[in-house]
Symmetry: C2
Subunit: 351 residues, 2 copies
Amino acid sequence: MHRYFFPFLLLIVLGCQQPMPEKPASQSTVTTDPLPSWRATAARQRILDFVTAVTDTASADYVPPAQRIATFDHDGTLLTEQPVYFQFRFVFARLRAMAPQHPRWKRDRLIQAALDNDVEKVFSYGGQGISKLITIAHSGVTTDEFARSARNWMRTARHPTTGRPYSEMVYQPMLELIGYLQAHQFKIFMVTGGTTDLIRPWVEEVYGIPKEHVIGSRYKLSYRLSDSGKAELWVEPAMEFFNNEENKAIAIHQFIGQRPILAVGNSDGDIQMLEYATSGVGERLGVLIHHTDSQREWAYDRQSNIGRLDKGLDKARQNNWLVVDMQKDWQVVYPFEKQAKEPAGQDTLVH
Amino acid sequence: MHRYFFPFLLLIVLGCQQPMPEKPASQSTVTTDPLPSWRATAARQRILDFVTAVTDTASADYVPPAQRIATFDHDGTLLTEQPVYFQFRFVFARLRAMAPQHPRWKRDRLIQAALDNDVEKVFSYGGQGISKLITIAHSGVTTDEFARSARNWMRTARHPTTGRPYSEMVYQPMLELIGYLQAHQFKIFMVTGGTTDLIRPWVEEVYGIPKEHVIGSRYKLSYRLSDSGKAELWVEPAMEFFNNEENKAIAIHQFIGQRPILAVGNSDGDIQMLEYATSGVGERLGVLIHHTDSQREWAYDRQSNIGRLDKGLDKARQNNWLVVDMQKDWQVVYPFEKQAKEPAGQDTLVH
């Protein structure tokens, strides 16, 4: 599988930038359908109308390309976040790889729970527990070394319930949306609570998003010259910035310097990003992906510990944000459904 | 002057992206000369050779476009930094505009010195003094309000010795270099000790660099909803990140996520950025602009309080960085020399 992993991903990306009409849809304009995995619902129409309004030079809502900034959350917006955030899986795997060099970890119950893959027990330690584990798994290496381990993990890791590579657990309709926006000269940024350095090494291959457009959580770095005079950056065991809620809006300003005209998220952690985007002058669109499909993906919102979407649903009503219903609005969820040429929903997930 | 300020700048930018051969140079390939304001010296040749090596697909040193990252310092590298950094001039002007609302400032000698435009006296307070003034001038407003004041100042401010707009005090050879690199699919980032928010509002017009490619010093921000429910970011009176020396390499990783293959600076504050860039695998180029021209610009290096280049000159020798001699390597320094069609050096600066 590993050998054709990247060419395969490239195909997905290229495929979504110039979508090929493999599957005749119900519309008459099949050959130019930019969003073939979206059903012909009001959600799809609202996205198309928005893009037309801001890109048509004759439109009152026209926005020049330099200002066509779109920000996307990652977990649960582009990638399945159930039954556990992919980053936690990376952390557990990395701790297992590091464990032989750390015999003292045997006496640490939290770390031991992670090494045993006991997610429930790790969660019982609350936010501080998982935060400690993430820090251990990220620090004490150079940024170059960390990038290598992130890339290798992404090549080999498998989703716990489907057994598929994580790169296949991305949402096909969102790949198409990214490609559609890029074809209309939007600049796509990923604004995620995940750590930037875990995502950048493979983000171009998987999503067609440039490395420098990933804005995530980050650790403190220190600059050192090696014995041979080579400049290196070391990851220190201290989180510098946790990119969630209000910090997402702040990071957007610090990194991009202008309000997005389109922001897409799926949980309460994305509320401020959507507020910040849609508070700007002119035509704006805020989008929340609502996980409603217990057959093809997962169904969860107000009560979930992962990707909770509670206040966000109320805010969406107040602010006229678009709520995408995954079950109703998406004809296909994952790329492999499309490739299998089977009717949507036939790929069963055991969970 | 104000009304045709931006169209004029746009002309410069467009002009440097597709340079017009107004001035026959000594080479035979006049019509395709990408760097007409550079003399035919070894410095110019080394830059051309580097770009050819990394962009020719048949070359052993070929670098794919996604990795063609080039970072440029600002003050003294793209813009004249003498007799005082442009940011200090902005700060003094902004304090004067704010003063009527702050009667207590009358009792503060440091602020009073700034209001009197007494640069020497302000400098006598050391780094902490200027740092306090910059903080006062930047904070207590929303990022949107600050952007407006930065844009307005840039439109109206004049260089203290030439009386020209700051946008005309940029180096024509560097505009050409940026355009030349962009034409070869380089991504150009500005990595500056100046505050990001002061530069972004006009960086596209002046340099053709996108807003999101400015990486500078930054202040802490807070997120608030206004009474009408509009999301706003407020600048707090606390510097969060001073982007100089080691922090330049760190910020490059946090914002860009890969080592530049080309880095250009002019002072000791740029040493780590050049070390970080040139420590990478493959063909790399580190460049220092050496201010050697007391006639057309200023001549300063090891002893200067502004833009000191001391250790950098030694590092350049050790690391084989290119040192550009402004007097010998540049045929033209400022855009207006070119436009005036006068022999270079005839525009006298009084200083």
